[in-house]
Amino acid sequence: MTHFEAVQTIAHRLTNELVVVSVGYTNLELHSVKDSKLNLYAIQMSLATPVAFGLAKAIPSRKVISLDGDGSLLMGLGILSTIATHPAKNLVIVLLDNGCYAACGWYSTGSGRGSDLAGIASAAGIPHVRTVATPQDLATAFDELLGKDEPGFIRAKVESGPQSTVLDQLPLDRLESTFRFRQGLVEEGLVGQWREARLDHYTSPR
């Protein structure tokens, strides 16, 4: 399974889920297949899954997907213990594991050298952990874990090495992504408007 096939598989199954995306090719691929205001793009290395977890805690009525990478997750493995011990019932982590740092020369990650990130997730206490290597198995695992009432973790093994680029650049910057995502949550009725100063906030006693 290529990285792009994995992203396509997930993207085609999304309905109204909130998706937090780590950095790198995943952003470009998801944007090209299924852009949405409910996609929060380009969350830096190690931070996508913690942000997704916080979001899942805040909005328990909606499923939240973390589209993370192996290099990113390895920078902050502690989050797996935090999620396991403070379960967010609506969180599914999809780890696109290519065993390398794809954006900067395909240097091997710890996963590429043999560390089993699904094993680590399972040992941390994540209740539902799957490892898949084909689009069909990824689709099956994603549908299954999305239906669970407990956190899920899918290690999607994808091909390492150079891959075709579907977009040269994400057509929105980080700040736009955040504000657009927040507006998407407002439009879905999941959060209220951000606090803004209004004239009636400042009145004088009569």
Binding site: I43, Q44, S46, F53, G76, I79, S81, S177
Partner: protein, 177 residues
Amino acid sequence: MREKKFVYNLNNAKIIYNAIKSAGINFVIYVPETWTREILKLLLHDKDIEAVNATGEAEAMAIAAGASLGGKTPMVLMEGSGYGTSIYVLSRLGLMHHMSWLIMSSHAGGLGELGFYHWDIRLTAEPLLSTLLIPHCTIQRIDEAETLIIEAQLTVEGQKVPMAVLLPHHILWQEAK
């Protein structure tokens, strides 16, 4: 200097806890530490506040960022040394993404820090916040705690930036009788 011993100022801890409640905080992500432990105890006993024990301060802040985006009113409770481990998340999520959350920490940079092992924190915590352009304030008198904590949270919501409230030694500890 004569030997001094200190006990926790439980009254001040209660005042700070009440101020946190008044500010609307409903989600606390914490990394336990000595100086803020009694405030944490009060928060953990509060059924209206959800609490998550993060494995580190940077992770705590990233969780808070996501929760804030999702409509919670989160606060990270931690030791002042946590700013050093959180530069990346403060700059990336705080500055670049404009995500926002309240931080409350002990303040080794104030007067009365007894731990020599905190000398680096004393020197670097506030300069780090200043360098990162993270607004911050120190509670010097307990009677200003409620105002400052509420105003800090208003800043978080209005300016969409992380903001830190620092608690020095004399606010959290008192000399044992």
